[in-house]
């Protein structure tokens, strides 16, 4: 992370610890952070990955997003958001149209909803699928009639 970006982030998000490799930001800062990074030249939407963490206090979800500058050797910036049992997050589609399919993939496999996504339907599994297979409580041999 270069000095200019660090300054900008520290001014805009004082609560975020900038020494982490993957920044932990509150859900409300997800979209503003992406917007600020885009202004700073981080215009390449690399990936979004959601994961499910069941625990004694209920389910938790984590959504990690990676952006980088479209320059050879440029470092990337990654941040994660921790969500509760009913996971939903602001969609980055208005900033990065490339987020379209990736967010649909997370919706499909982990079940994180992205608010403001123009077409929030399943990407990989069939439209009538029940459940989200990458959740930890999904039975791996769950029958899906009539094919299994």
């Amino acid at each position: 992370m270069d000095a200019t970006l660090r300054e900008a982030l520290a001014a805009r998000f004082p609560a975020v610890d900038l020494d982490q490799d993957v920044l932990l930001v509150p859900a409300a800062d997800h979209y503003p952070l992406a917007a600020l990074l885009k202004e700073q030249g981080y215009t390449l939407y690399v990936t979004v990955a959601a994961s499910h963490h069941p625990g004694p206090e209920g389910d938790a979800f984590e959504v990690a997003t990676v952006l980088r500058r479209p320059v050879r050797g440029a470092p990337s910036v990654a941040w994660r958001v921790v969500l509760g049992a009913d996971p939903h997050l602001q969609s980055l589609y208005p900033l990065f149209p490339g987020a379209d399919l990736q967010e649909r993939e997370q919706l499909d496999l982990v079940g994180v909803r992205f608010d403001g996504h123009p077409n929030p339907v399943r990407l990989m599994l069939s439209e009538d699928w029940v459940g989200h297979p990458l959740r930890k409580d999904y039975a791996p041999n769950m029958p899906h009639a009539p094919w299994r």
């Binding site: 599994l125 791996p140 041999n141 899906h144 094919w147 299994r148």
Partner: protein, 240 residues
């Protein structure tokens, strides 16, 4: 049908017979024989290629194993095809589409299961999104084991299908095909998983050996029994 010996561009048992009879240049045949001959030498294939086996299918139609010589031409549309070559893993999402394409093929039609995925789901068979074998939804005429089967294997499978078609048209009983795993087919070569560069230890070799290829207990014991000899030979060769 006039026969000129210098001009025999294709084979038929009838020609050989006629060839041996001096003076005979004209033969009659029943329409049925002619139709059978035409049918079995123009098995146009429809590549239901869903993954890596599909690439092998494309290669099989190239010039090394030229399937055109058997009259098997790949067709892009199911409506032109006689044989559906199911090449690849079948996902639950793809299954209804495959069935729809199968229904669009005109009768008579046949199905070839190419590769372990199409036969039984292979190592994806216990996955939530994979259909364990094409024969759970479509009757299969020929199974071609392998991961992937190479062009020669596909050719052998098509030859087998030709024999079947001929026998069926002649009204002979054709034994239904069984899945190769139940027919105790030869398992994939051990060299595929072990002993590439001679760096594996004996313990690792034995672990590979007892792993079982699809998680079936009965098949695992088969595998161990059958290949124990092979393994000991291998270890001997390596001087361990």
């Amino acid at each position: 049908m006039a026969v000129d010996q210098t001009n025999l561009s294709y084979e038929h048992p009838l020609y050989a017979t006629m060839d041996k009879m001096p003076g005979i240049t004209v033969a009659t045949t029943t329409v049925d024989m002619l139709l059978t001959w035409g049918l079995k030498n123009s098995l146009w294939t429809f590549a239901m290629a869903t993954s890596c086996c599909g690439i092998e299918f494309m290669h099989a139609n190239g010039n090394r194993t030229d399937l055109d010589q058997m009259g098997s031409v790949p067709r892009p549309s199911p409506r032109h095809a006689d044989v559906m070559v199911m090449a690849g893993t079948i996902t639950v999402k793809m299954a209804p589409r495959i069935l729809r394409l199968w229904e669009q093929m005109p009768e008579p039609k046949w199905c070839i299961a190419m590769g372990s995925c199409a036969i039984s789901g292979d190592f994806y068979r216990d996955m939530y999104s994979v259909v364990p074998g094409i024969d759970t939804m479509i009757p299969v005429d020929v199974y071609i084991p392998g991961c992937p089967p190479n062009g020669d294997d596909l050719m052998a499978g098509l030859k087998r299908l030709q024999e079947k078609v001929e026998a069926q048209r002649a009204g002979r009983w054709v034994e239904p095909e069984g899945r190769p795993e139940t027919a105790k087919a030869i398992l994939p070569a051990l060299g595929r998983v072990i002993d590439r560069d001679g760096t594996q230890t004996e313990r690792q070799l034995r672990a590979c050996q007892s792993m079982g290829l699809d998680g079936n207990e009965h098949r695992q014991s088969d595998l161990v029994a059958k290949s124990a000899g092979l393994l000991s030979n291998l270890l001997k060769l390596k001087g361990r």
